[in-house]
């Protein structure tokens, strides 16, 4: 496994009433080839903003404060600007595939245009490559479906088309922002299966953002848990689910209904996550944390390695039950 993406010190800024607040960061991330990194968190945790900040595709009003990203080129990591990466080395797959497809172009033409842009091949050749790509992502009857308009396709098929567009860009990294949230569970299973296959066969690296812990368990090798704009715990997915260290990760798992269980009490987390303007000075989870003491309220814990490959930002993680 080689490192294909390295992100350091990524911060998203928001200018609010003359005061600068940072809804995300600073955050460090890395990705190896053929690996899937899951980023989980609840709404407002900054998981989607992190993903968008990598490609500098932030919504109006937000800006990238700091951050560098290195990608692998010819075997070495080099620093590249977001505009040199998007649609090339890195592609974004959003929650709503409808918004990523031009409603006035047949899906085959959409893909063919990208193929021509990237390889400079002829019109006819790009069309047959488009059909090939649709077949590659499991679209049934690709010759016919290439002539469909986006509105004629179901959500699951549209998401496959978006994935095939990323393949047409010859991207090595897919940033997936809740790509299955709008889909039914049986279709979600199909898309997750496709992503895994691409990861295995083509060595694609995937950054997978979701609020669904069970889903991230299914797809990610490694996960980062985000809370209030910061990573609070990261490490191998199996290890974190078996042995969560951060009180927030533990609380999330205790609140989650698992399909395997019919009984047992679900534990809600009291209080609400803070907004960017009211982030507490110390640990951002401290006001809701059952283990918090004076130190937690005044000083921010940094991510520290625990030896099992897990990194956790908590003063109490060793002493916790």
């Amino acid at each position: 496994m080689t490192r294909i993406l390295n992100i350091e010190n990524l911060r998203v800024d928001l200018a609010a009433r003359g005061k600068l607040v940072s809804p995300v960061g600073p955050v460090d991330l890395f990705l190896d080839s053929g690996e899937c990194l899951g980023i989980v968190g609840e709404s407002g945790s900054g998981k989607s903003l992190t993903l968008k900040a990598i490609l500098d595709l932030l919504p109006d009003g937000l800006s990238r404060g700091t951050g560098t990203q290195q990608v692998v080129e010819g075997g070495i990591l080099v620093e590249r600007a977001p505009r040199d990466l998007r649609g090339r080395k890195i592609s974004l797959i959003s929650q709503e595939p409808g918004t990523a497809l031009d409603p006035l172009m047949r899906v085959g033409d959409l893909i063919a245009e990208i193929v021509r842009e990237h390889s400079g091949c002829s019109r006819a050749e790009s069309q047959s490559r488009a059909v090939e790509l649709l077949r590659r992502v499991g679209v049934p009857d690709p010759e016919n479906r290439a002539k469909f308009w986006p509105h004629e396709m179901s959500g699951g098929l549209k998401q496959r088309v978006v994935i095939s567009m990323a393949l047409a860009c010859e991207s090595e990294i897919l940033l997936c922002d809740e790509p299955t949230t709008a889909l039914d569970v049986t279709i979600q299973a199909q898309i997750v299966d496709l992503l895994r296959e691409l990861q295995r066969l083509e060595g694609l690296g995937i950054l997978f953002v979701t609020h669904d812990l069970a889903l991230v368990r299914q797809i990610a090798n490694r996960i980062c848990v985000m809370y209030a704009g910061l990573i609070v715990e990261s490490g191998p997915s199996a290890e974190i689910f078996a042995n969560p260290k951060h009180p927030y990760t533990r609380a999330l798992l205790a609140a989650l209904p698992d399909i395997e269980a019919s009984t047992g009490d679900l534990m809600p987390i009291e209080g609400t996550p803070p907004g960017p303007a009211e982030f507490p000075p110390g640990c951002r989870f401290a006001p809701r944390c059952p283990l918090a003491d004076g130190q937690c309220l005044s000083k921010r814990p940094m991510l520290e390695a625990l030896g099992t490959g897990v990194r956790v930002a908590c003063f109490k993680s060793e002493k916790g039950p």
């Binding site: 709404s43 979600q188 809600p268």
Partner: protein, 333 residues
């Protein structure tokens, strides 16, 4: 079980276009029947387009059925319900952000309801409002707030209080936690469980989330394209599914302890359009074991306590032996 709520042959057709000579009709519900016993929770699961939300709207009287009946304690509702009838089945909607009036404080909303339906005498309205806040575990100050001043979970509690204000016999909850984060979902599910226990409420719980349904519901019905394909006690249906669709749904649910790859059964293709004319079983194009009769005959929902609508239902060993859940006997074909 003794039927408290009885639903018989419910059908709903929506005209969605076409000409007057050949109208395009979407058959959202097709001959749906089930019973709900008093004090129990009846779950309805299915994917988008299966008709579960239409069913919720028919139960609470918001959509008139094309055919069939809904009756409570043996008395059928008319197609237009009187206020006293409407009161008896109340609904909690998916998104409290859009189901609550943003310009109204909680107090104004609740007292309007209590006065209109004459639930309590005028002088007791304020007291009743406070009691309702206590029921949904909200501080009394929430009565002075508008929805904009409340978080998503708090708004859903207010929506539940609004439904409870009319002292209904049945609460219909349509994906009540789908818009909430898991940490908040847990508190709303807890609240619903408490209400059922303490107030003896009967609930119809509609969801696409199988894990939540397994926690909350005593009985469950699985819907596919407007029909119930399997129903019974939740544990029985989820652990020993007989319909191939239920089986596939269970296999597709992401789990914290992933199934080994060999037990991972993927459904091919997608749900057909609800506008399509389908002869025989609607699940046929995705079914791993469809046979000749599936193309011609619509399977009826049959059985005694565990009902299934399939020509080739999966047999399970009689005991609680779960090893048989994954057996691969392909019958027929």
């Amino acid at each position: 079980m003794s039927a408290w709520l009885q639903v018989r042959d419910l059908s709903v057709d929506f005209r969605v276009g076409g000409s007057s000579r050949s109208p395009l009709v979407l058959r959202a519900l097709r001959s749906v029947s089930f019973d709900v016993a008093k004090g129990t929770v009846f779950g309805i699961v299915g994917e988008s387009g299966c008709g579960k939300s239409t069913l919720a709207r028919v139960l609470s009287g918001l959509t008139a059925p094309t055919g069939g009946s809904v009756s409570l304690e043996g008395v059928a509702f008319g197609s237009v319900r009187a206020p006293t009838e409407r009161r008896r089945i109340q609904m909690v909607f998916q998104d409290p952000g859009s189901s609550l009036n943003p310009a109204m404080t909680t107090r104004r909303m609740l007292s309007q309801l209590l006065n209109y339906h004459r639930i309590v005498p005028k002088e007791l309205v304020e007291q009743r409002c406070r009691e309702l806040m206590a029921h949904v575990h909200m501080p009394v100050e929430a009565l002075d707030k508008k929805p904009g001043g409340l978080s998503g979970g708090q708004r859903q509690r207010i929506a539940i209080a609004r439904a409870l204000a009319l002292e209904p016999d049945i609460l219909v909850a349509d994906e009540p936690t789908a818009a909430l984060d898991v940490s908040v979902q847990a508190s709303v599910l807890r609240l619903l469980a408490t209400l059922i226990r303490e107030l003896g409420m009967t609930m119809v719980f509609i969801s696409h989330d199988m894990a939540v349904v397994r926690r909350v519901c005593d009985h469950v019905a699985v819907m596919y394209l407007g029909r119930i394909v399997e129903s019974g006690e939740t544990e029985e249906v989820f652990l020993r599914p007989q319909h191939p669709y239920t089986n596939a749904l269970m296999a597709a649910v992401p789990r914290l302890h992933p199934l080994p790859a060999s037990e991972y059964q993927m459904l091919k293709a997608e749900q057909p359009s609800p506008l399509a004319q389908i002869d025989g079983c609607a699940f046929r194009n995705r079914c791993p074991k469809s046979g000749a009769s599936c193309a011609t005959d619509i399977p009826a929902l049959t059985g005694t306590s565990h009902l299934v609508a399939c020509h080739y239902p999966k047999a399970h060993p009689p005991s609680g032996d779960t090893a048989g859940v994954q057996d691969r006997n392909i019958l027929g074909g």
